[in-house]
Symmetry: C2
Subunit: 81 residues, 2 copies
């Protein structure tokens, strides 16, 4: 079994209203040294052994998990259980 850790982040230059909302909330809590916040997604996907694992994960991200127009994704694969 493999544990795949996937990070999905907005591309640079894409507006991040959720990040701005978090930033404003932190500043209103008196954390005045907050310069910027970017919010992304993090997923852990457990996959059984298969051929071409990396190309499968690329397809999963492009088809469903990420929006390739505005998001980048990276992943790492670990052995699990």
């Amino acid at each position: 079994m493999h544990k795949v850790k996937i990070h999905i982040t907005l591309k640079e230059g894409v507006l991040d209203p959720q990040g701005k909302a978090v930033q404003n909330s932190l500043q209103s809590l008196e954390y005045n040294n907050v310069q910027d916040v970017r919010v992304g997604k993090y997923m852990e996907v457990y996959l059984e052994e298969s051929e071409n694992l990396e190309s499968q994960i690329d397809r999963m991200c492009d088809q469903l998990l990420a929006n390739p127009v505005i998001e980048n994704y990276t992943y790492t694969i670990e052995e699990a259980g």
Copy 2:
């Protein structure tokens, strides 16, 4: 300036309906080797230099970014720009 990478994940045992929805969607796309999916959040917070950076980040997570009842958080601190 510091770039803080924060991972927020549901605690073990806490139901993850969003993860289940993603898992079902992947399986309906014929990815039959998907065993489980857990969805979390990933944030990049840019902070200016301050004293007690780690305790500040702990407070930010406990107060706003994570729900300590059902979520765990981890973070790493990098130098940025």
